[in-house]
């Protein structure tokens, strides 16, 4: 029993380290984006950090995974499994409408510095540095950081259940995720602290990069309305990675504010 607990903690810690140090892409990949049923159906989803869309690499910690139901209730998965390569959830989708799955850890302050020629990192705000930063540290920079890992699953008829909360960078669908179709233009909007934001760097990648020489990344930047538009060439599952960084509003705590959104979605056959 002790061994099992030890293994679990070690796994969790290494995951924490990975997401901070290497900044892998992350995603929630559901078994189905669209479902039809009169009685409800089981859904499963994988949570993983990997730079190879959508081949799994390292399990994401999913303690904060929540499901926003069409009725506005915040559910937890009915069961979870944490492997080494991926975490998995089980969830019964009972009602018609759109469910939003999120795995968003709270925003945190991350400080980078150099010590004896080596890059180091520390989970601390600027206010904590006098206490926590080792002597001799140089090139110190602190970032307030927040990442959203999310996806949408629709049972029968879609509903606009996008769960906007106003924290740093958010993706708001203009084209409903359930209405993204090959060969048709789709639109998303980005807001930062609830306001439309220009200059968000976006990458959209079709699954299957392991079997292509060219990863075929579509790069976009949000316009003055915070919007991006794109036309998926082929049906399939896509990962969207959005990043926005700016000078921090509260310079007492951080130099920069940085926020990311990882959205997986499917483009359907037309």
């Amino acid at each position: 029993m002790k061994k099992i607990i030890g293994l679990f903690i070690a796994t969790t810690m290494s995951i924490g380290l990975i997401s901070q140090v290497q900044a892998h892409s992350r995603w929630l990949l559901p078994s189905h984006y669209n479902m039809s049923s009169e009685k409800g159906l089981w859904l499963m989803a994988d949570a993983t950090a990997s730079n190879e869309v959508f081949n799994i690499d390292k399990a994401l910690s999913i303690d904060v995974l929540r499901i926003l139901t069409p009725k506005g209730k915040l559910d937890k998965p009915s069961s979870v499994y944490k492997g080494h390569r991926k975490s998995v959830i089980d969830y019964f989708v009972a009602d018609s409408g759109t469910y939003k799955l999120t795995n968003n850890y709270p925003a945190s302050y991350r400080t980078r510095y150099k010590l004896n020629g080596k890059n180091k990192r520390l989970l601390a705000s600027k206010a904590e540095l006098t206490e926590k930063l080792p002597k001799g540290a140089s090139d110190v920079s602190t970032t307030l950081s927040y990442a959203r890992v999310e996806t949408y699953v629709t049972m029968n008829n879609p509903s606009d259940n996008f769960g906007q909360d106003g924290t740093m960078l958010e993706l708001l669908p203009i084209t409903h995720p359930s209405d993204i179709v090959e060969g048709e233009q789709a639109k998303f909007k980005f807001v930062f602290n609830g306001k439309a934001i220009a200059g968000v760097q976006v990458e959209i990648i079709l699954e299957g990069v392991r079997y292509r020489n060219d990863p075929q990344v579509t790069s976009l930047v949000s316009n003055d309305k915070g919007e991006i538009s794109f036309t998926p060439k082929s049906a399939g599952r896509y990962l969207l990675i959005a990043e926005f960084e700016r000078t921090a509003k509260n310079q007492q705590l951080a130099d920069l504010e940085s926020s990311e959104v990882f959205l997986s979605f499917e483009a359907q056959l037309n």
Binding site: M35, S36, E38, S178, L269
Partner: protein, 177 residues
């Protein structure tokens, strides 16, 4: 009170009776298209290997890509309705009643002559104009085909032929005003 009720029911019945008579007369004089027919000879192609009868949907979209008339739905379990991709997105997921109303059992390989009145989903005469007929055929553990044909509903009869696909044989469509 009782008499009032009887009188009320009579009045109601009379009104409904009269208005339905008027509606019938109107549709006869309004337009010749009340007798218009769309005929589809739908052919499900022969397959080799494991075979499950396809889920089939056929419908009309107007020139704004809006579904206006659901013609055919051959299906079994609701769980697989989403696999009739375009039909599910345009019609199926939005209207449970409509789905239930037109559902019938799946059919195997064969040729199926089908005849429809040129009406919309509410039973109203389809206005003259340009439409697209879609036929979507999806087999479990098999292929999918979506074929479409632009069709103009006017005072002239039309005949179209849709080329065969791996899932469908040659399909003939006629419109007689």
């Amino acid at each position: 009170m009782k008499i009032n009720n009887v009188a009320l029911y009579f009045l109601l019945f009379f009104t409904v009776f009269c208005s339905s008579t008027i509606a019938a007369e109107n549709s006869a004089t309004y337009s010749d298209t009340s007798a218009s027919k769309i005929k589809i000879n739908l052919v499900l192609a022969e397959q080799s290997g494991e075979y499950h009868s396809p889920y089939v949907a056929a419908w009309l979209e107007n020139d704004k890509n809006q579904a206006v008339r659901n013609l055919v739905l051959w299906r079994t379990k609701a769980k697989w309705l989403k696999d009739i991709r375009r039909w599910w997105r345009k019609i199926g997921r939005k209207d449970q009643q409509l789905v239930d109303g037109i559902t019938s059992a799946t059919r195997g390989v064969g040729s199926y002559p089908l005849t429809f009145k040129a009406l919309d989903d509410n039973g109203n005469i389809l206005p003259q104009g340009n439409y697209t007929l879609f036929i979507e055929v999806v087999r479990e553990k098999g292929g999918r085909a979506i074929v479409k044909q632009a069709i103009t509903l006017s005072n002239s009869p039309v005949h179209h032929t849709i080329k065969a696909t791996p899932e469908t044989g040659e399909i003939h469509i006629t419109f007689t005003p």
